[in-house]
């Protein structure tokens, strides 16, 4: 077994909502005791419908939000963002890529500045070196040096997602959280971005936590799969196990609901229609 990069033990997150003139205060249990561990260079996919707590879990892993209970370990070190002194060194280990490439880039910031900003804030590298690293990263994600001085509106959705990935990789994180990174993209562009993620994983030994609701994508990219339902992890295992023999009813419902694009299922559907 390889080195564990990120581990969660019984993580919970409660939100207190209401308590105004209009509604009584109540507690929403967004994440209810979820445990997981991801080895270096592997991908954990978290699947579930909207409101199941998968993005809340992503925020906790990314150290944006604190868990209410449970323990989070990053490269063996216990992290609690409410207590620990959060050093830049810890923050640098985890980066996130968001779903909407149109909303996650500042429209008034040039791409070069987007990529150099993490270095400016977190390191004391001189400007010339920052520039060099940003150029290097641009070519790594399949863009070119000519894109350095352009603004986000000059790029397509797929290119913007490449920029968002490049920005996340500038500080050489060991863990990358991808929150629905390809949901907003066209099929052919989705294929390119998924390939890029695989290439980068091989090159930098990156660990991914990949959040998605698309089972076809998950089956393609994941090593381990966690299915969440109302804040609980109802299914957790290797990809092959989960897809071959789903145990929980919700997982079975999810699989049954996923549209199938293979010839046999089309034949079966047409035959059924004819009979009706």
């Amino acid at each position: 077994m390889g080195e564990i990069v990120v581990e969660g033990r019984n993580i919970t997150r409660d939100y207190h909502v209401g308590g105004t003139v209009f509604s009584a205060a109540r507690v929403v249990h967004a994440v209810k005791g979820v445990s997981f561990a991801v080895e270096r260079g592997k991908t954990l996919a978290i699947v579930g419908e909207s409101g199941c707590g998968k993005s809340t879990l992503a925020r906790i892993i990314t150290l944006i939000d604190a868990q209410t209970g449970g323990e989070l370990f990053l490269e063996g070190q216990k992290i609690d963002i409410r207590r620990n002194e959060m050093t830049p060194a810890i923050r640098r280990k985890v980066q996130i890529v968001f779903q909407n490439p149109y909303g996650s880039l500042n429209p008034r910031q040039k791409i070069g500045d987007v990529l150099m900003e993490p270095l400016l804030i977190n390191t004391d590298k001189p400007a010339s070196e920052r520039r060099e690293l940003a150029m290097e990263m641009l070519t790594k994600v399949g863009l070119g040096p000519e894109h350095f001085n352009r603004y986000p509106h000059m790029f397509s959705g797929g290119q913007r997602q490449r920029i968002a990935i490049a920005r996340a990789l500038m500080l050489k994180p060991s863990l990358l959280v991808l929150d629905e990174p390809v949901s907003a993209l066209d099929l052919s562009v989705q294929a390119q971005v998924l390939n890029l993620l695989s290439d980068l994983q091989d090159e930098f030994q990156l660990t991914y936590v990949f959040i998605s609701h698309d089972l076809a994508v998950v089956r393609y990219i994941a090593d381990h799969v966690m299915v969440m339902y109302y804040g609980e992890a109802v299914e957790y295992g290797t990809r092959d196990n989960v897809f071959a023999s789903p145990q929980h009813d919700y997982t079975k419902v999810l699989f049954a609901a996923t549209p199938r694009a293979d010839v046999d299922s089309i034949r079966a559907r047409l035959a059924k229609k004819k009979a009706a």
Binding site: D186, L187, N195, D214, R219, P259, V263, I266
Partner: protein, 283 residues
Amino acid sequence: MALLEIKNLVVEFQTASGPFRAVNGVSLAVSEREVLAIVGESGSGKSVSMLAVMGLLPWTARVTADTMSFAGRDLLKISPSERRKIIGKDIAMIFQEPMASLNPCFTVGFQIEETLRFHLGLDRAQRRARAIELLKAVGIPQPEERLSSFPHQMSGGQCQRVMIAIAIACNPKLLIADEPTTALDVTIQKQILDLLVGLQAKYGMGLIMITHNMGVVAETADRVIVQYKGRKMEEADVLSLFEAPKHPYTKMLLSALPENATGDRLPTMKGFVLDEASVPGAA
């Protein structure tokens, strides 16, 4: 005879840098009791061609076609007031964002009854009875109470059901669904697709399903049109399209599906150049 027939449709938008062709010579026909899927990536002109049929394009658009007829009526020559009598009654459309396409200021019941009042002229009691019947047909529990709900009090899936209820209110002959399930979870998507196909079979409607999702195509369509950059690339019945795609673009699109992945990398569109000679109907 085809219900909707379009020949050589061209839609151009006036932009600062000259006219932009969003739809370039698309021909299609859909009959009663038929499910036609139009599939393509963003910018392929699949929505624009249907908006042209509905007459919902902004004034900057210039629509030309050799034929555009619905149930024997020429949609190109029809006056706007005549068109308004057809749109919403005989042709209805469902849009992608259910939350955004309902008016947040009015109750669900009001919005369903508005259609019934305008097109069918039913009285108050009849409208209410029909609205309850419609909400039942689209599978909303406790329809009597739901009539006085506002859109924000319902989930995305339920809003889409209300949209479908409005669309089928006047028993349309043709239903156009523009990405009806894109904003929904897979389990809800399944329910909505089953509902649409069920209603289509029950009422014998023609159904045009606009989507970018090959899975949705495979689950619903009888016949498929593949569009790319405003052109029609391929038209085939659903089985032959998935079994033996003819056009290179269709092949590429199907091989980019993650479920069809063979190696550890997906084939991509990189280097795909549209061969003009391969476009059907191109001179």
